[in-house]
């Protein structure tokens, strides 16, 4: 009896709960459609998002995004749907995965490589610079004596 009561209660409240979560107000739908559209590339005018593009296909893609948002898809689910149809290309920001490592990390490689090159060449220059300025320790005892002699001669003349 208790179980039946509980079950009927659950059954009665379930649609209400569902309706509540599924009922999105227009402003939210509009905002989410806009946000998702900004992350999807227009496949006709390829450097614009479908939010920016006036292409008719972009218009229909926005429509479809809205339909899916209204139907209860999460943002990621909408993007995944477009991705299955059009590939990674349709995402304005390409996913990080082995085939796109070069794309994502080549700037780091270039900056890192440049830094390494700079540090190494700077060290080399520094080494060369100290190499030309000989200190006392670079002269042998014999050379020291000769230098002293030359300087003494210079001072006395």
């Amino acid at each position: 009896m208790l179980r039946a009561l509980f079950l009927s209660f659950a059954l009665l409240s379930a649609p209400a709960a569902f309706a509540q979560s599924a009922e999105l107000d227009d402003a939210t739908v509009e905002q989410r459609t806009e946000d998702i559209s900004r992350t999807l590339r227009c496949v006709v005018c390829q450097n614009q998002s479908i939010a920016d593009s006036n292409a008719t296909l972009a218009e229909d893609m926005r429509r479809l995004v809205e339909v899916r948002v209204r139907a209860g898809d999460t943002d990621d689910e909408v993007r995944a749907y477009m991705q299955t149809n059009y590939g990674d290309f349709v995402l304005m920001s390409p996913p990080v995965k082995p085939t796109t490592y070069l794309l994502w990390f080549s700037p780091l490689l270039i900056v890192g490589g440049g830094l390494i090159w700079y540090v190494m060449s700077a060290r080399k220059r520094a080494a060369e610079a100290t190499g030309t300025e000989l200190g006392d320790e670079d002269l042998s005892a014999e050379e020291q004596a000769r230098l002293q002699k030359l300087m003494d001669e210079n001072a006395s003349s």
Partner: protein, 180 residues
């Protein structure tokens, strides 16, 4: 001069080569995500309002060309006579997807140019087109009897594409084991 002094020039030549190759690519022609994948499920109105809806099931059973067109599409006018000829010569089933069109315009267009299509779906708001990853018209899909997409051609159909790509795909088809 040391080899290092040629480095900027070598870089320059390298860049020119990269850009040169880039110019020969066609970024408008996205590779299809559906090659060797089943046709995504869909159901859409028939262009002829008194005829039954067109579904993904409609596309199975025999080798089928699914041709995306529209009366607004200029290249479609160019390819249309070839589709008519292809239908006459080979009898292959051609299913049309009238994309982003109006019914009167499409019907007038078919009256004027001939109708090579067995069935035509009417995709006013790109629902099926987006589901298939269509980016422009015309596009022609080759679908095998199992409903698997074997090829997508972007641009006009012509004898070269038909003979060099479509015919070999059809001739080399082996039905999967267990199929009738």
């Amino acid at each position: 001069m040391s080899w290092k002094s040629y480095l900027p020039f070598a870089l320059f030549v390298g860049l020119i080569a990269v850009f040169g190759i880039g110019l020969t690519l066609k970024p408008q022609e996205l590779p299809s995500e559906f090659i060797n994948e089943p046709v995504p499920q869909f159901e859409i109105a028939n262009l002829f309002e008194d005829e039954p809806n067109v579904t993904s099931e409609t596309l199975t059973g025999e080798f089928t060309l699914l041709n995306v067109f529209g009366s607004w599409c200029r290249t479609c006018i160019i390819e249309h006579p070839y589709l008519v000829q292809l239908k006459e010569e080979t009898g292959i089933r051609i299913i049309g997807l009238d994309w982003r069109d109006t019914r009167p315009a499409a019907l007038e267009w078919l009256d004027r140019l001939g109708n090579p299509y067995d069935i035509i779906g009417f995709d006013e708001h790109s629902e099926v087109a987006i589901g298939l990853g269509v980016t422009g018209a015309p596009e022609t899909f080759l679908i095998d009897p199992e409903g698997i997409i074997r090829y997508k051609h972007v641009g006009e159909m012509n004898p070269e594409i038909w003979n060099e790509v479509f015919v070999p795909l059809i001739e080399n088809y082996t039905p999967p084991a267990g199929a009738a």
